[in-house]
Amino acid sequence: MSDRNRLPVIQDETAGCGADSPSRRDFLRTAAAGAVIAAVSGCKPDAVVEELQRRHLTELSPARLQEMLGKLEKKWSAQYGKAVTVGARPPMPGVNFGYGLDLSRCIGCRRCVYACVKENNQSRKNPQIQWIRVLQMDKEHGVALNHATPYYDPEKVPEPGHFYMPVQCQQCRHPPCTKVCPVKATWKDPDGIVVIDYDWCIGCRCCTAACPYGARKFNWAEPNLPAAEMNPVTDYLGNRPRPMGVVEKCTFCLQRSRSGRYPACVEICPVGARKFGNLLDPESEIRQVMERKRVFIFKEELATEPQFYYFYAT
């Protein structure tokens, strides 16, 4: 990935400074347009001017980005009644994340689904958004999507005759979703994570159509996130609250993983079916799995080359 597609690193004051300082004329023109739109749509003029003045994330100077994050923190702290932090954690050098999922251990309990919802501030209802979809499959058919359902609801899992395959963003090495985005609102970071700038996405849903794994979810309505359940430790490209009309998906919990922690789904899994680590470190858990077990990738015929591996440990 080119430097252009990287989030600006906040500590580095020299990089890209002043790149977004708009000329006075530009500002006046945008302000005038903003006032007109505000008058027509009944929105606050300040908000509209700010929206129109916004540039692509990679064109923002670190100072400007910091200012933007500060504003978001203030806004959400007031809205949710708690001290919300919005980071912009850069990818760590020398790290390329990989994920392993042990299909022989997964019992289909969906604890990962709900831990993810809680950690990542998804909309709780109308509509409920989940980034992980656990598919129940028949043992007699193996991994076959025409014999799979996410809507199973027994008293106890696992059910006889079935096995379970959780699917989430596969963080492809050749992501079809970033390719089709008409506005570069989504890209793959150097640590392997495919991210979305929710404040740049136009909601055209090309990426949802292009994703072979159903990983991308659209905010069909204003997200419903009760203040009491809001996770205040957030990242701009990760779990911060999303607006209506944009696409979101799993980011390997980058607000955690980029600080050296496990994603929430790995932590919660009661049977240890989920493995996570740095593909560039031969001692990491994921590399150990790849060394000792045989892994496979989902829909390998599409050549998306996921960084998400399935395996059977037993």
């Binding site: 509509p127 025409n146 014999h147 008409p182 740049w200 136009i202 159509a209 794994y213 159903g214 009309g245």
Partner: protein, 411 residues
């Protein structure tokens, strides 16, 4: 006296018309009103007001968009036979075709706009304030070519009409190259739109090389169908002369296009059913349904029946030259292609979804209302444009003191 005066004259003509014209405009304005009511509901609730969901993420709006790109492309492509067969009113065919293209393009853009989750961020796709993802994203290409095509058609039409209004012939050195360029551009907009779908490996139903040629073939059916009906109305209500032979020729060309379209359809169906891979599911969903999920099946067969019947009508000389059957054929071909290129293309592409789930999509009330509004707007644009263009072309609407007969305007 200049361009401003021309716009004023055109503006006066927009509101000039008989009772039938005014009644028709009133109907269209009412349709737009319905659309506004629907869209305001969608604006408040979000796209949840539609029946689209994560499983079927594009649907009725995008289907209409795709169909209308075909109409926009084919209207201009009529210039080719008009030129090859030396039709007398070639200038009129060009102007009317481009007016239809302009109206269809406006509808295309409206359908994209109403489908967007964040229409307020439209600037993000524009070069300059935004960050268009060239050359990778087919949608950013599509936005560009559709806009270029729209501007191209506007420039040509406005130039011809403005000159005629002033009693002068159009500048050949300016118009002819632009019209010639608009022919590959017409093919281009439809090809890029086909690539938008065909480029998605995640959706086997779309991921076929046959898609772009099929788009072009079906466009050659739906666009001219509108033109044939329009030619007949204009012949009756105005002094425009359009020969019977010209209309019959268009109908004959439509028969060939429909034959090619049906042939490509048959080739696809053979491949899917004979090879019988997991990809068959999507085709099966359209033609047979999967289990109890049969929402599209009646429409698919209705569409095929319309297309085959229209093909027969247009290929047989006797029915092609009979006005009643000809017009029936136009309606049939339009309906057949509308279903095939709209819902018949978009929905099976996403049903079952990429993880095998079947979500049966049917448009919601809001989607119907918004679509009615967009079609109303497009029809209103077309009606008023034609109402201005025809008297200018016939010499009854002129700037003060401008000659009625255009000097040197032989064809």
């Amino acid at each position: 006296m200049g361009f401003g005066e021309f716009l004023q004259g055109a503006g006066r003509q927009v509101v000039t018309g008989g009772k039938a014209y005014k009644a028709w405009v009133a109907v269209l304005v009412a349709m737009i009103g319905i659309g506004l009511v629907g869209y305001s509901r969608q604006w408040n609730q979000g796209l949840l007001a539609t029946n689209m969901r994560d499983q079927v993420t594009w649907a009725f709006y995008i289907g209409n968009f795709t169909f209308l790109v075909g109409v926009a492309a084919a209207a201009v492509l009529l210039v080719v036979p008009a030129y090859v067969y030396h039709w007398k009113p070639i200038k009129e065919v060009v102007v009317l075709g481009e007016l239809l293209a302009i109206s269809a393009l406006i509808m295309c853009m409206m359908f994209i706009l109403v489908d967007m989750g964040r229409p307020d961020r439209l600037t993000h796709i524009m070069p300059g304030p935004g960050s268009p993802n060239w050359p990778q994203s087919m949608l950013s290409w599509d936005a560009m070519v559709l806009n270029i095509y729209l501007i191209l058609n506007l420039v040509v039409v406005v130039h011809i009409l403005y000159r005629a209004y002033r009693g002068r012939d159009y500048a050949k050195a300016f118009v002819v190259p632009l019209v010639l360029f608009s022919i590959p551009a017409a093919v281009g907009i439809h090809t890029v739109t086909a690539f938008l779908y065909a480029g998605m490996a995640a959706r086997p139903y779309w991921n076929a090389g046959i898609l772009a040629p099929k788009f072009i073939a079906s466009a050659f059916c739906s666009g001219p169908a509108v033109m044939i009906i329009l030619f007949q109305i204009l012949r009756k209500t105005t002094a425009i002369e359009i020969k019977d032979e010209a209309i019959w020729k268009v109908a004959e060309l439509m028969a060939y296009a429909m034959f090619f379209n049906l042939f490509l359809l048959g080739a696809e169906i053979f491949k899917e059913y004979y090879s019988h891979t997991e990809h068959l599911l999507y085709t099966q969903y359209l033609w047979q349904g999967i289990g109890n999920n049969r929402a599209l099946v009646p429409y698919a067969w209705f569409s095929l029946t319309c297309s085959v019947a229209a093909f027969l009508i247009f290929v047989v000389k006797k029915t092609r030259m009979n006005w009643k059957t000809l017009n029936l054929g136009c309606v049939l071909i339009f309906s057949g292609v509308y279903i095939e290129k709209g819902m018949g293309l978009v929905i099976p592409g996403m049903t079952p979804d990429t993880l095998g789930e079947i979500y049966e999509y049917r448009p919601s009330a809001v989607e119907w209302m918004v679509a009615i509004g967009v079609f109303g707007l497009g029809a209103l644009v077309f009606t008023t444009l034609v109402n201005v263009a025809v008297p200018i072309m016939m010499g009854t609407l002129r700037a003060k003191g401008a000659p009625v007969e255009i000097p040197g305007a032989g064809h």
